[in-house]
């Protein structure tokens, strides 16, 4: 390709035809330097090349404009112009004016098929494609002058560049024409795809449904037909009565045209590095958002949108508004009051992607609750995630863009407070092959919005691959996973609370189903946490994230109204109890306090038989709580941990064995004075109460000083310890408050 281009450019004929010149020079970068002027100045070789290229494109277009009338076009002349078009297209993309001419040639069938194919393959837009040119092309299609292969290629092209077409009103008017092409067996899948993109509610007519059903009967269950039918069904459920499979993995095969990569490359070249595009990409109130759909913005150079177009756009849309008086153009939607005033006549943009970045439309979306909107969004998003799955593509310069796309999807999920099933599918496909490195934070954030679904799915596609990565990856990865699983749990619980408030008995998630799945998640985290603490040598940092997760778990009953409480496994509890760090110990105390509050409330409810009787906490939960509380009070307060601990994996040890360790004051060693996590406080406290004593006689902390010490600890921010001691340890009496305490539970 390179070679061909360079060999051709020097041999430019001097004679320049000026027919199309004005249009073309405006299209080029900035549109200000016209070619004659620039030739006067001495320019760099590069610019020269561009100019030459432009000239040869002009010639080519002018040639192809006339070739219709030519009796017998010379082969080598055609080839020369063809090459000019192709090289410009691949380099800069074609200007809007070029499309009509070239489509006319390609579809009129005057030239050989190879030429037509090459022409169609070169149709890479630099900015937009005028609707008129497409309409003309479709009219050629209808007189079927061109071969079947060219028809097919044209449809593939149309699907790929659909978002680049500047208006679509007339295209919509051609719906019936496209529909008639369904009868062609070869074209059918692509026509279906195109119709899927074009279909609006008013297009769904009984006779079309009949035709589709007849086709389905003739050709069998084809995924493309099903896709179209399911869209019809969403628009008019009363008319499409057949049952369709609920969830389809992919409706349409990628049209695999040669254009996509070229378009991306052209855009990259015209636009330079991507940060610039992000502004446009995430811009919320782009006035052209309706016509220029979102994924087109991913692809279209920001600078190439010239203002005239915008004006036209505006005028046109106003025109439509007055003319049809049906829908309020979304590009005019700027404020919330506008949304409220026009909410009855809003129409979603034809490409749903633009919704993601527009908070007003997201508001609208969450309020209309229209299935078809979600279907369209998921369809679009699924395609994006599947095709642009760039985390796993080597040499991909668009990783940043893909990341920000994932980020946008995540933000939209947060906004709507619900997960997208398209993202879920993406994760399920991605996670088993994921290396845990590419787009790490984005992928893990999406994990937190996986919708609550059947456990077998979650286990197979989420837990299993995640566990493998978790065990082999760094401590930071482990913490990130725990963090996003905590968010996942919270999102599930929040959704549940909302559902309960609305008292919607949704078909697929019953309360017991929810309880089971949540329980599995908590158990899973318990298991991997136990292993992780072992692998990471009881890292304080890791423990912090684990306890953070249990901070949500311990309050599920009271805060989220879920009849479920699960204690942390011993592999988490004991490392936390014996941790070297006061933050974790304090958090453990707080968690145990919350468990206690929840369990007590549950017991009371159970006794008064008020509600949720079908879900009783198992005795095991109470038993486990009691075992833990005995161990904890024994450790921190009564200095009897080694004797009283009754948990099978606990600290209970034989006296003889203990004496062999030859540690003095063994019994005290984990109470709030001697505990490694508390030692810092007790030393500081001793320094304060007897500044002269340098022997650090910890035995001084008893009686009244014990109380002082507690007060001191509370002022140091150990609030968790405070609520724990105040709730779980009943002090015998103010007088005999030495080290006695007993447990109530």
């Amino acid at each position: 390709m390179q070679r061909r281009r360079s060999s051709k450019t020097p041999k430019q004929p001097q004679h320049v035809q000026h027919k199309n010149q004005t249009d073309l020079s405006a299209w080029r970068k900035g549109g200000k330097i016209d070619s004659e002027k620039s030739l006067q100045y001495n320019q760099s070789a590069n610019d020269q090349k561009y100019d030459n290229q432009e000239e040869s494109l002009e010639q080519a277009l002018s040639y192809f404009g006339k070739v219709q009338d030519c009796v017998a076009p010379k082969k080598n002349v055609v080839q020369k112009h063809l090459d000019a078009v192709e090289s410009t297209a691949l380099k800069q993309g074609l200007p809007p004016e070029g499309f009509e001419i070239l489509l006319n040639v390609a579809l009129s069938g005057r030239l050989a098929d190879t030429v037509n194919t090459q022409l169609l393959k070169s149709l890479i837009p630099a900015s937009v494609i005028p609707e008129n040119s497409v309409v003309t092309a479709v009219s050629w299609l209808c007189v079927s002058k061109c071969s079947g292969n060219i028809q097919l290629l044209f449809l593939k092209w149309l699907i790929t560049v659909f978002d680049f077409i500047d208006h679509k009103e007339q295209l919509h008017a051609l719906y019936g024409f496209f529909f008639s092409f369904l009868q062609d067996e070869k074209l059918c899948p692509y026509v279906c795809h195109l119709l899927y993109l074009l279909t609006r509610k008013e297009n769904v007519k009984p006779f079309r449904i009949r035709i589709l059903l007849d086709l389905q009967a003739k050709m069998g269950m084809q995924s493309h037909l099903q896709a179209l039918l399911s869209l019809y069904k969403l628009f008019c459920p009363e008319q499409v009565t057949i049952t369709l499979p609920g969830k389809m993995k992919t409706y349409f095969k990628n049209s695999e045209g040669p254009w996509k990569a070229a378009i991306t490359a052209v855009r990259q070249r015209n636009q330079g590095p991507s940060p610039l595009s992000q502004a446009v990409f995430l811009g919320t109130s782009q006035p052209q958002s309706r016509k220029r759909k979102w994924n087109a913005q991913l692809v279209i150079p920001a600078s190439s949108t010239n203002t005239n177009h915008l004006e036209e756009d505006r005028e046109k849309s106003c025109f439509y508004l007055h003319n049809t008086n049906e829908s309020f153009p979304v590009e005019q939607l700027q404020t919330f009051p506008q949304l409220l005033q026009n909410i009855h006549r809003l129409e979603f943009p034809s490409q749903m992607g633009s919704v993601l970045t527009n908070p007003l439309l997201l508001h609208y979306m969450s309020c209309v609750k229209d299935e078809s909107i979600y279907l369209r969004l998921y369809y679009w998003m699924g395609q994006m995630l599947q095709e642009e799955c760039t985390w796993c593509v080597v040499d991909n310069p668009y990783e940043e863009e893909f990341k920000s796309f994932l980020e946008t999807a995540y933000k939209a999920e947060c906004f709507l407070q619900e997960g997208f099933s398209a993202c879920e599918e993406f994760l399920y496909k991605t996670l088993p092959l994921w290396d845990g490195f590419c787009c790490r934070s984005e992928v893990l954030r999406l994990v937190s919005w996986i919708p609550l679904s059947s456990f077998s799915d979650i286990k197979q596609y989420l837990f299993d691959p995640l566990a493998q990565l978790f065990f082999t990856s760094s401590i930071y990865f482990k913490c990130s996973v725990l963090e996003s699983l905590k968010e996942l749990l919270q999102n599930w619980l929040n959704c549940n609370v909302i559902q309960m408030d609305l008292e919607i008995s949704s078909g697929n998630t019953t309360l017991s189903g929810l309880v089971n799945v949540v329980a599995e998640l908590v158990d899973f985290v318990g298991r991997i946490s136990t292993v992780a603490l072992r692998l990471e040598n009881n890292s304080t940092f890791l423990l912090y994230f684990i306890l953070d997760f249990y901070g949500t778990v311990c309050d599920m009953y009271l805060k989220y109204n879920l009849p479920l409480l699960i204690m942390p496994p011993a592999g988490v509890f004991y490392p936390a109890l014996l941790s070297m760090d006061s933050v974790n110990l304090n958090q453990l105390c707080y968690i145990m306090y919350r468990y206690r509050t929840n369990l007590v409330a549950a017991k009371e409810n159970e006794l008064s038989k008020k509600k949720i009787l079908q879900f009783k906490f198992s005795n095991q939960t109470y038993q486990k709580y009691n075992q833990y509380i005995i161990a904890m009070v024994g450790c921190l307060w009564t200095s009897s941990a080694f004797q009283k601990d009754i948990h099978p994996q606990g600290l209970c040890m034989d006296d003889k064995l203990l004496s062999k360790t030859a540690v003095k004051e063994l019994k005290n060693s984990f109470n709030i004075v001697y505990h490694p996590a508390m030692m810092g406080y007790s030393v500081r406290f001793l320094q304060q109460i007897c500044p002269d004593d340098t022997t650090f006689n910890f035995k001084l902390i008893k009686g009244k000083k014990w109380d002082w010490y507690l007060e001191y600890l509370y002022t140091q921010g150990l609030k968790g310890l405070k609520v724990f001691i105040e709730s779980s340890i009943s002090r015998v009496s103010q007088a005999a408050r030495s080290k006695a305490g007993n447990v109530e539970a």
Partner: protein, 177 residues
Amino acid sequence: AVRGRCADVRLSALSLCPQFVGSDEELQRRLAETILQEKKDFNINIHLATSLPLPSERDHLRPRIDLVVFMIDIKSKYSLKNVETSLAYVDASYFLGKVCFLVTGVGRKNDCSIETNAVCKLGEAYCSPVLFCELELEGVRVATAQRLVRMLGICAGHIPGVSALSFVSLMRKSNDD
């Protein structure tokens, strides 16, 4: 004699890679280099081979092998076949947690010629974990190297309380229960 003195412990990883056209041997070498650059508290010897069995003449000089990594290039059916034939020469005791499969080239999913399913089945059949990565990307290579070093540490018994066997049972998919 080796245990207990951490500085003297020599761990060995044997990395296996089928030989075929392209940069794959190069990738194998680059991964090995990345592993050696990792910060760790033990020495690592890496033995690269294209297939098994290893030549027998230097058997007595070869250090104990702690982990066998079979590299499978997802783009080449031959690499899978090569690994499958080589597996026959691995002592059964290695499958108690000292073997793993490293699938490379995931970054070019479009030119995959091996189904990931086939590799996963291989992993299940040999009770060994399967890791996926793209060694051509610097970042992923480093991340993969770190993962392998972690596994190596476990396989060599460096993490108290976690044996190679217990670890590999954690890595297995728990479909059966």
